[in-house]
């Protein structure tokens, strides 16, 4: 699976309260959540992300609360993948669960500028910056996580597991 898109960059310790502020947690429709993606930092984000983007973070991306609504808001606003130096663990699990690829990519925050064109190969973990030619290797996702992503998230994955069991 190869993904490409323009980079939108953020700094370190981007928490789930800025990714999706508390007051919007009352919404259950993913597209409604998407309208408020990154509302804590950039109200224009949903417009920027609509074309299909790759978010690049620094360390500890997604720290804070367990709200699954945070990766949902990103995914439905148009984010195809998140690359970061490191992720907070609940955010990481939630992103996989809802089918948003998240890759730990050491050095990415220094080798990508806002607006650079990136391609990411989920199978191999290879990340290329088409704008400046930099090539990076992200940590490859374990097999069982790739299976969840391939199925489009945990729900579809569980459904398939239940079907194949029965």
């Amino acid at each position: 699976m190869e993904i490409s898109g323009k980079a939108i960059k953020f700094g370190a310790n981007i928490d789930t309260d800025v990714i999706l502020p508390g007051p919007y947690l009352v919404h259950t429709d993913p597209y409604e959540l998407a309208k408020h993606a990154m509302a804590g930092l950039d109200l224009e984000f949903p417009q920027k992300a609509a074309e299909g983007v790759i978010v690049v973070g620094d360390k500890n991306f997604g720290c804070g609360s367990s709200r699954e609504q945070a990766p949902i808001a990103l995914k439905y606003s148009g984010v195809k993948c998140v690359l970061a130096e490191s992720f907070a663990r609940i955010f990481y699990r939630n992103a996989i669960t809802i089918g948003l690829p998240v890759l730990v990519c050491t050095g990415v925050s220094g080798k990508v500028k806002e607006g650079d064109m990136l391609t990411v190969n989920l199978q191999t973990g290879k990340v290329e910056n088409k704008t400046n030619g930099a090539v990076m290797q992200s940590t490859k996702l374990p097999e069982f996580i790739m299976e969840i992503l391939d199925d489009g998230g945990l729900i579809e994955h569980l459904k398939r597991r239940i079907e194949t069991h029965e």
């Binding site: 309260d17 009352v26 804590g40 360390k59 804070g64 609360s65 992720f87 907070a88």
Partner: protein, 422 residues
């Protein structure tokens, strides 16, 4: 093995586990609430499941926007209430029955040492204070737990934190916790477990220990455990009649590293905006003006917190133009605070008392901040916009520091307040 490894090995039917192993663990208790529950229920339906795996192991608590703050939140409550009814979940704490989820869980006897507990809330790690492996998960993962009663975990590397020394007067477990966060940093324990030990933890009340485990997630940790001792057993035995198996670390347990902390000279600490690991001694930021002060939340809304704040506030008036909001974390705490006269002391000082719930902690309702406003709070997060406007400022501190600051309208060292005014 250390306590975390031993619990995960037990729960997954293995003799031995080590860091980086992936295990599928049986879940002993699963908790959800009004903000993450509806999504879990939606996912449960989408999976196509009809019945939960074990209705007695599920606890549902309405606490984030309680009583309903809007038509939308009322709708969320309705979804959750109907689900509890449909699945015959007896451990359902509706408005007025419980309080903040992480207080209600142990208080009502749903937390036992040695158990694996998940909650669709990041501060589920609070139950580590009772020697349980407890961690936050997302809503859809909760739906998977509702369906199967199991969940995969990566066995984490564990950092041991040994805390020694004695607190000076008006220095509390919150100050110690903030100090430790400042040392480990917000990303210092990502994917890792924390185990807290040392003489001061042993000396501390169960309530004080909960503050520390509660904020383990503020260091990125998966869980923050304290070995159960007699105090833990006394607390738990008084609240549950279910059997349990207390687990402690082996003598030769392995840790990724050991961090030694001494609290003997510790001053009251404050986390300054907008990071939980930007920690300063109160004396460095004294005088910062505040508009609001909040005493409550799953971090510091317990009886000893209210007692400490009331000692400072009793017989005095809070500063004009400052709002002090006090929210006992549970119905039980509220009742005890009433009978001890604490609520009266707060009200006479000019405080507003809220019903047990999360309140302003997450900027949901009951004390949202406007642009440019500053709040000092006993809660656990000071992220941008956490308590309202993205242009507001949140400082985190102990109940004593918050109470002292409410009196003066500025961030204030409680030692000074209590030293000057007798």
């Amino acid at each position: 093995m250390n306590i975390i490894e031993k619990i995960l090995a037990n729960a997954s039917g293995r003799k031995h586990v080590s860091p980086d192993d992936i295990v599928e663990a049986k879940i002993d208790m699963a908790m959800t609430h009004d903000l993450t529950g509806p999504l879990a229920i939606k996912s449960f339906r989408e999976i196509g499941a009809k019945k939960v795996w074990n209705k007695d192991k599920i606890v549902i608590i309405l606490d984030h926007l309680v009583p309903a703050s809007s038509v939308i939140s009322a709708g969320l409550h309705k979804i959750v209430r109907n689900f509890a009814e449909e699945q015959n979940i007896e451990n359902f704490y509706d408005v007025g029955r419980g309080g903040v989820c992480h207080q209600v869980m142990p208080e009502k006897g749903h937390v036992r040492p040695g158990e694996v507990i998940v909650g669709s809330d990041s501060h589920t790690c609070t139950y580590g204070a009772f020697g349980a492996f407890a961690t936050g998960i997302g809503s859809t993962e909760m739906a998977a737990v509702f369906t199967t009663g199991k969940l995969w975990f990566r066995v984490p590397e564990v950092i041991k934190v040994d805390v020694e020394g004695k607190f000076q007067k008006w220095v509390t477990s919150k100050d110690m916790t903030l100090k430790i966060i400042g040392k480990i940093c917000a990303d210092g324990a990502i994917y890792k477990g924390l185990e807290f030990g040392g003489s001061i933890i042993r000396d501390m009340t169960v309530e004080g220990r909960m503050v520390l485990s509660n904020m383990a997630v503020e260091m990125g940790a998966k869980a923050g455990l304290i070995e159960p001792d007699q105090k833990t057993l006394d607390y738990v035995n008084a609240r549950t009649d279910k059997p349990f198996n207390p687990i402690v670390s082996d003598k030769d347990a392995e840790y990724e590293k050991v961090l030694d902390v001494d609290v003997s000279d510790l001053e009251p600490q404050v986390a300054v905006p907008h990071q939980v690991d930007k920690i300063k001694p109160v004396t460095e930021i004294e005088g910062t003006e505040i508009n609001q002060a909040f005493i409550g939340s799953c971090t510091n809304g317990r009886l000893e917190d209210l007692q400490s704040a009331a000692k400072i506030l009793k017989g005095k008036k809070i500063k004009r133009n400052v709002r002090l909001i006090v929210i006992p974390a549970s119905q039980e705490i509220y009742l005890n605070a009433l009978s001890e006269g604490l609520i009266q002391a707060f009200m006479e000082s000019g405080a507003t008392i809220g019903n047990p719930n999360c309140g302003p902690c997450l900027g949901g309702h009951m004390g949202i901040l406007a642009d440019g406003e500053t709040c000092i709070s006993t809660s656990n997060r000071n992220f941008i916009g956490r308590m309202g406007s993205t242009k507001s400022f949140v400082y985190l501190a102990s109940p004593a520091t918050v109470a002292a600051s409410a009196l003066t309208g500025k961030i204030t060292d409680p030692r000074e307040t209590m030293g000057k005014v007798h």
